[in-house]
């Protein structure tokens, strides 16, 4: 705890040093009655307005805890961190440079002051029809809301499930993105020379179902998968072709790489690993009825187990998503999705399943519902996201209240509630991790 404060103080110190000298302008806010746009602009740019590049960020404290003891985790606290994000941006006529880094002290892992470079890239356009983005970047595509089918860029499920801000749902990729426009279809090609996995649930902070042990596990069985980190050999390749057609966005996708979670198990080495994966998919999104509709599907080809006979490797899958969102009243939006995950070689899976292992269903059906209400001139946001699977009989409920105190300060609180009948289902395995969290952020 002492350590926590000392690191917090270090970060705060760096921060105060950075903004000192500019505070005179900050405190010079008079209550002039006349609206002067130039003066107002000066005021909002007070901190780093004089620099030759953009410099922004935030300073945040965030804490969360389990609502009940988890026998597999020693800590009740799931989140206790002080975080400073610094964000540089410089745009020249021909090239853009962005760097976003987080300095944080994590009171749960107690591993000292850490730096996480979230984005470091240059972007430029060598020809009018082409764009290049090179470096560490956040990548997203696809149409789902918290359900990703054709988006195989790294996610951070730990952050997501313990209540870090939404931006941390995505983890960065190190790679090259090429985009081609002005053709009948637009093309994005992404090459990642060294595999970037998800920041998956490994047991360190959240407990999970370990299929090898056949029970829930946590700190007692932290997953250390074989590393797939050979440059250019363990590479990932993703592409998307898209175009607008009568107001609808149509996409074709492909991915050649690995399952993003260590879902394979090498019983010779007794180690989890990331088996090879190819994905081929399509999506469409656009106005339907009184709102927005989306449909997305993909074939997941589990390349190391094409027949589906290896019980230690995932089966190939068909994934399908159908969604609809509508603003049903002023500042009140309702969105709903149906999601299907179907095993392609179910009979082979059943026949080869070792005795005593729990067999999962051929199809996993999931429904989601999101309610969002904005109040008080959109400064107060109430949202509720629910994911429920009737086939797995499990659910995840995520209420959140976010309030913007003013243009600099904001606060939020929320919870991640997991329920499930069985230990081995997708959401049910997290049922000991139900948590609540609270945060306060100052942005500059």
């Amino acid at each position: 705890m002492k350590k926590f404060f000392s690191y917090g103080l270090v970060i705060l110190g760096i921060f105060l040093l950075a903004i000192s000298g500019k505070t005179d302008i900050a405190s010079a806010q008079g209550d002039e009655r006349e609206f002067s746009p130039e003066k107002t602009l000066e005021k909002v740019k007070f901190y780093f307005g004089g620099l030759p590049f953009e410099l922004h960020g935030f300073f945040e404290g965030r804490g969360g805890a389990r609502t009940e003891q988890d026998p597999h985790e020693s800590k009740t606290v799931t989140l206790g961190e002080t975080r400073l994000q610094i964000h540089f941006f410089k745009s020249f006529d021909w090239v853009k440079f962005r760097m976003k880094m987080d300095f944080f002290y994590d009171g749960v892992e107690e591993s000292g002051l850490k730096v996480d470079f979230r984005e470091v890239y240059i972007a430029f356009s060598p020809f009018g029809f082409m764009e290049i983005k090179l470096g560490r970047q956040i990548l997203t595509w696809g149409t789902g809301d918290n359900i990703f089918i054709n988006d195989l860029f790294p996610k951070d499920f730990t952050s997501f499930f313990i209540g870090r801000e939404d931006e941390y749902m995505k983890a960065p990729s190190d790679g090259l993105k090429l985009s081609f426009y002005s053709l009948p279809v637009n093309i994005n090609i992404i090459y990642i020379p060294k595999f970037n996995s998800d920041r998956f649930i490994d047991g360190k902070r959240l407990s999970y179902f370990n299929p090898q042990l056949g029970k829930l596990a946590g700190e007692d069985a932290v997953i250390h998968p074989s590393r797939q980190d050979e440059w250019f050999n363990d590479s990932e390749f993703a592409y998307r072709l898209y175009r607008e057609l009568r107001g609808y966005n149509l996409c074709l996708y492909g991915y050649h790489g690995f399952w993003k979670n260590p879902v394979g198990f090498d019983y010779h080495k007794a180690k989890a690993f990331f088996p090879r994966l190819n994905v081929y998919g399509v999506s469409a999104r656009g106005g339907v009825l009184y709102g927005i509709g989306n449909v997305e599907m993909a074939y997941y080809e589990s390349k190391d187990d094409l027949g589906g006979r290896d019980p230690f490797l995932p089966n190939s899958q068909f994934r399908f998503l159908l969604g609809y969102e509508q603003e049903v009243a002023k500042d009140f939006t309702v969105g709903s999705q149906y999601y299907l995950e179907q095993m392609m070689d179910y009979n082979a899976y059943r026949q080869n399943l070792p005795q005593g292992n729990q067999s999962v269903d051929r199809c996993r059906h999931t429904f989601t519902l999101r309610l969002t209400k904005l109040l008080m001139y959109q400064n107060l946001k109430l949202s509720l996201f629910t994911m429920y699977s009737p086939s797995d009989q499990d659910a995840w409920v995520r209420p959140n209240i976010h309030y913007k105190i003013n243009d600099q300060w904001s606060t939020e609180t929320g919870a991640n509630i997991f329920v499930g009948k069985k230990d081995y289902t997708f959401l049910g395995q997290f049922k000991k991790n139900t948590n609540i969290y609270v945060a306060l952020r100052w942005s500059f």
Partner: protein
Amino acid sequence: MKRYLIIMLLVLMPIPTLAITAEEVVKNYYAAFYYAGSDLKAHVIMKLVNKEGKERIRELTMLRKNFGGEGGEQKYFIYFFQPADVRNMTFMVYKYPARNSDRWLYIPALDMIRQIAATDARSSFVGSDFTYEDVSGRNLTADTHRLLREEKLGDRDCYVIESVPNEPIDYIRRISWIDKNNYLPLKEEYYDVQNEVYRLFTADKIEEVLVTGKGQEQIKIPTITRRTMKNLKSGHRTEVAFITVDYNLGLKDDIFTERYLRNPPNEAIK
């Protein structure tokens, strides 16, 4: 016979020059206010002030291009500088004359495009007192317009027009004072169901913006560079100022596509 003809001519002649219908006034108003120039770029600052005097600031660049004539399709591109929670976000609107707009928001921290399900054009634009419709315009045929009178507002000669929505919305009628010279709205009162004024729009500053017209000649486009929308019931108000405004820049069509939504053009960020 000749005498009758002269009388008939005298009776008929002045009619087209004297009388302007309410629809024509509003049509000219929408054209002058929402469709001026072939395209527009404005650096905008908004000040949102609540009843206690607490302020919030929004700073953005707005690009707008007309596709088709007055009252036709338009595309908007917005890039946010302030405040922190929307910084670097881009927002794109395709406005159609006969159906709901399409809207997209790009969240750079997640590299995510969200198409926004917003059927309600009366919802607030970025938490301000202005609605989406106030920003991008309302369909001419959505209301029944009536010319109430002609009068001076300050030193400006105005048409006073009443517009009653054909479908029930958050106000039952709007009274507009429209400048006879440039057709810009100088003041508007919105009446709620109790028939009381609850929203008040005022044009606080009008500037003649010098632009190069189609034939390369210099023309002036009168532009409202300062405006206020005040909610009289809540005491909340929003003041908007154009720090810079330019017309007819020749913005390319593809600025209003996913490419630039993800990677905002220099036109927007500088």
